[in-house]
């Protein structure tokens, strides 16, 4: 019982950490984007204000029970992936539900939320939402290929499907996987561009085309939960990348530094890019990224 309480407490703390870091990253993204565009930009905490404002909206509408549940679905994905992904190396405080096969579990649970939210978006009856969802799913079929290739390369090289095992490998050898398996890292990072949905892969939300796509009927508290879930999820994803490729982190500060360094990649790539069409985006992922994925697998299989 005590253990469960302890874990619950740890889960809440890690959620709060992930939430604040994730939101800060989003704010920093806006700030940096503004600086690149020669603007002053909003303060770094702007997204906190946005989230609070959204939560303080008095009214909200929904088109049915699926839309009502949609944000909860996506929150499940964020929280559960946060629980499964080890946040720090060998830290007992943050709950760590990882197990043999958690990488595969993560691949699927990461879809759980978006699909649930997509159901909510579908129920609004707004054509833009549905179009956004179809784009999102198509793009997912695109970037999952290099991403899975990278993971499979690591899995077969180290004969494990567990994140902790991969981290231990790096700790023991003292060498980050991004250096020992560069192609896998390359493929995974290219897939990450799609995962973060920044330009040129922002075809899902595309405010100018689809009026923010799946979220176009969500406001107030729904958007609040979605935004929070999005930032938590962003942090979870970055942590996963750090865990797998950059040897994890021993304390939170190193983790923040590493994740932010990774976060810069999609962000900076996004600031300087226009937008792809859906099939271009899908094909892009099946091009070079998948090629690097194949190289990674070859490397893993041969050496």
């Amino acid at each position: 019982m005590k253990e469960i309480l302890y874990y619950t407490w740890g889960a809440i703390v890690s959620f709060v950490v992930a939430f604040s870091v994730g939101i800060t990253y989003m704010g920093l993204n806006r700030k940096i984007t503004a600086r690149v565009q020669n603007r002053y930009g909003p303060p770094w905490y702007q997204n906190f204000i946005d989230v609070i404002k959204l939560s303080s909206k008095k009214t909200s509408i929904h088109h049915g029970v699926m839309q009502h549940m949609g944000p909860a679905f996506i929150m499940v994905t964020s929280v559960v992936s946060l629980l499964v992904i080890p946040i720090l190396n060998g830290n007992k405080f943050f709950p760590n539900l990882n197990f043999q096969g958690d990488l595969i579990f993560l691949l699927y649970i990461m879809v759980f939320g978006p699909l649930g939210m997509a159901l909510g978006a579908g129920q609004t009856g707004n054509p833009n939402s549905a179009i956004g969802v179809t784009r999102g799913l198509s793009q997912m079929a695109g970037f999952e290929i290099p991403w899975v290739m990278a993971l499979v390369a690591l899995m077969i090289q180290y004969k494990t499907t567990s994140i902790v095992d991969l981290m231990n490998v790096q700790v023991e050898s003292g060498r980050w996987l991004m250096f020992s398996s560069p192609f896998a890292f390359l493929a995974a990072v290219m897939a990450m561009l799609g995962m973060f949905r920044y330009a040129p892969f922002d075809i899902v939300g595309a405010p100018q085309e689809l009026a923010s796509g799946p979220m176009s009927e969500n406001g107030g508290k729904y958007l609040f939960v979605m935004m929070s879930a999005g930032s938590v999820f962003a942090f979870a994803k970055l942590t996963l990348y750090v865990d797998i490729f950059m040897g994890g982190a021993d304390n939170l500060i190193i983790l923040v530094v590493k994740t932010f360094a990774l976060y810069l990649i999609p962000m900076l790539y996004g600031i300087t890019s226009p937008r792809y069409r859906t099939e271009q985006s899908v094909r892009w992922f099946w091009g070079w990224p998948s090629f690097f994925g194949l190289l990674a697998i070859l490397q893993a299989a041969l050496f």
Binding site: I61, G101, P127, I156, E279
Partner: protein, 616 residues
């Protein structure tokens, strides 16, 4: 008299009585139909025990019927789905024509599936196999003129497979002088090499047809989608599993003894993977729910085939587990489509939308089934997929994992399309009067969907019988090794999977759901789907804002180069060529008496000329 005889006489008698009762009264017929299945299920599970067998002989051929633990796994699918589908069909088929015919064939196909599982010898196996083929064929063509083509395709491919099997059976018979499957298994290692290669190929052709393996799958999408939905759930859920049943036997007993079995396994595994990919892509391209599900069945069977072909204990376990899951979720989904067809009269995504509030129970069961189909935890599909990936990675099938994963990811596309097309989207006025399907149709779906959830959380319920069955096939027990292998199956009685994760999922979901509901509860209101932000316009009731045409057009554009070449067109070309050839040959019979007389003379002359070489 032995219980096995009683079981078969009960089912046959029930089938014939049902057929005859059709002439007397509809109610009697329905009752007889359901009772037959129920009674035989009860009989099977209470009175017939693993290891029971009866021997008899027909015309000098010694035959044996019995049941072992391996067949029992599949009997779960057949009888379980059979019971559900029987209740469902009573309601679904109400008011249709030729019900005696339908129920008769339905029962015959169930009987023959049970027969296949209970055959210990090749002849009765083949007999039941063919009975299954024609009974299902008669249901495929039940819907009238427009489905005859799919029927002919189906019977043609099935017969191709069946004849391949017949050939293999007589080869075995000629070589071993015995028809027992057990004897074949024991004798196989001592067969000549040519037999060792040909027998598995012939058997796999037979089973591959039923399991819709590329390139023998072309009948499947049409046949699945054209038969009445009440039967398709059994057709796709259970009948196709007979192919898997046979395949596993072939792989365990034959391929293991091939001189070099790697290439064989790889080929079949890749065929399975390609089946999965192409099935998925074509499912995405469909605009009709029945076709979509049919292609999706093809794809799902592809995973199972891959699992079987890879053939490690874990892969086998996953294939069998996925078989059970596929039966459940595809059964549910086909039933849901049937319910929608019954209530709205169409199964096209671009015709019917927004049924979620009208048919909530159908929606919930479809939702659960779709989640399981997509392999998303915590439902049953995930466990199977997880085991499949794990086994593929452990057995060094790197590219195969990618292929399977691609198919599985793309499957989300059609999963979403299915739910969105029917249940979500604009709630059009046209479908305002639609009611939830009758309870008899909804209950089976709900029960099966619940089972999916239960099996997802407690996979041991299914995995234990599967483990027993695999021991019959000569695998060592997997329970000890795999339960402890991963936290997925942790120590809580070997039954519970993902316990903390399930709690985490449930807890998070509930917390945020409550948060969303409670926060500003009074100020949250429901608005209709016409009240959407569409540039300030107020859509009128007749204005259709539904998005369903060209749903995945961009994606399809991206994958079009792969889909351009269709297997079907090759077969069609071949068929047309053959027909032209036949037509040419037919002209030998010119209808002219003189020609015929000349034939006779020419024949005589030829015989006389070559008499020495002919009769020397």
């Amino acid at each position: 008299m032995n219980m096995i005889y009683i079981l078969f006489s009960l089912m046959f008698g029930g089938a014939i009585l049902t057929f005859l009762a059709h002439k007397v009264s509809g109610l009697l017929r329905d009752i007889l139909f359901v009772l037959t299945i129920l009674a035989s299920t009860v009989l099977f599970y209470t009175k017939i025990h693993t290891g029971d067998a009866v021997d008899f002989s027909i015309s000098g051929l010694p035959l044996q019927w019995g049941i072992n633990a391996y067949g029992r796994i599949f009997s779960l699918i057949v009888l379980g789905l059979g019971v559900m589908a029987s209740f469902y069909s009573v309601s679904y088929m109400k008011g249709k024509e030729r019900l005696g015919y339908f129920y008769f064939n339905f029962l015959i196909s169930l009987i023959s599936m049970m027969g296949i599982l209970m055959s210990h010898d090749l002849v009765s196996f083949f007999i039941f196999w063919e009975m299954m083929t024609w009974s299902s064929y008669f249901i495929v063509i039940y819907n009238g003129k427009h489905v005859q083509r799919s029927g002919i395709n189906y019977i043609l491919f099935s017969a191709l497979g069946a004849y391949a099997m017949l050939m293999a059976i007589v080869m075995v018979y000629a070589h071993t002088q015995s028809l027992m499957i057990q004897d074949m298994m024991q004798a196989f290692p001592f067969f000549p090499v040519a037999y060792k290669v040909w027998l598995p190929i012939l058997f796999l052709t037979a089973f591959g047809v039923k399991a819709a393996m590329m390139p023998l799958h072309v009948w499947a999408p049409d046949a699945y989608s054209d038969s009445p939905m009440a039967y398709t759930s059994v057709f796709s859920g259970a009948l196709s599993k007979m192919g898997i049943y046979g395949m596993i036997i072939v792989f365990v007993t034959m391929v293991n003894y091939l001189p070099d079995d790697t290439w064989f396994r790889e080929t079949i595994a890749w065929l399975g993977a390609i089946t999965a990919i192409m099935g998925t892509l074509w499912a995405i391209a469909q605009d009709d729910a029945r076709k979509l599900l049919a292609w999706s069945s093809v794809a799902q069977l592809g995973y199972i085939i891959t699992g079987v072909a890879v053939g490690t204990p874990l892969a086998m376990l996953s294939a069998l587990f996925l078989s059970v899951m596929h039966a459940l979720f595809k059964g549910t989904l086909f039933m849901a489509v049937g319910a929608i067809e019954k209530q709205t009269g169409t199964t096209k995504f671009n015709e019917v939308t927004g049924l979620i509030r009208k048919m909530p129970w159908t929606f919930i069961s479809s939702l659960l089934a779709i989640i399981a189909l997509a392999g998303i935890p915590p439902l049953g599909g995930f466990v199977g997929k997880w085991m499949l990936y794990e086994s593929l990675i452990n057995s060094n099938h790197y590219i195969l994992v990618i292929a399977i994963f691609f198919a599985s990811t793309s499957a989300f596309l059609y999963c979403y399309k299915f739910l969105f097309g029917f249940f979500l989207g604009q709630e059009e006025k046209e479908w305002e009067q639609v009611k939830e399907a009758p309870a008899l149709m909804v209950l089976p779906m709900l029960i099966m969907a619940t089972l999916l959830l239960v099996f997802g959380v407690f996979p041991g319920i299914v995995l234990n019988p599967i483990d027993l069955g695999m021991q019959t096939l000569g695998f060592s027990t997997t329970a000890g090794t795999f339960w402890s292998m991963s936290g997925l199956f942790n120590e809580w009685g070997n039954q519970v999977m993902l316990q903390p994760l399930v709690y985490a999922i449930g807890g998070t979901f509930l917390f945020f759901l409550i948060l969303l509901t409670v926060k500003g509860f009074k100020e949250t209101r429901y608005v209709t789907t016409k009240d959407i932000s569409s540039s300030g316009e107020v859509p009128l009731e007749h204005e259709n804002l539904t998005f369903s045409e060209g749903f995945y057009q961009p994606f399809l554009r991206a994958v079009w180069p792969v889909m351009k070449r269709r297997m079907m067109s090759y077969y069609q070309g071949f068929g047309q060529g053959m027909e032209a050839f036949f037509d040419y040959l037919r002209r030998v019979y010119s209808g002219n008496g003189q020609t015929y007389a000349i034939y006779v003379l020419v024949f005589v002359v030829i015989l006389l000329l070559f008499k020495n070489s002919l009769f020397g």
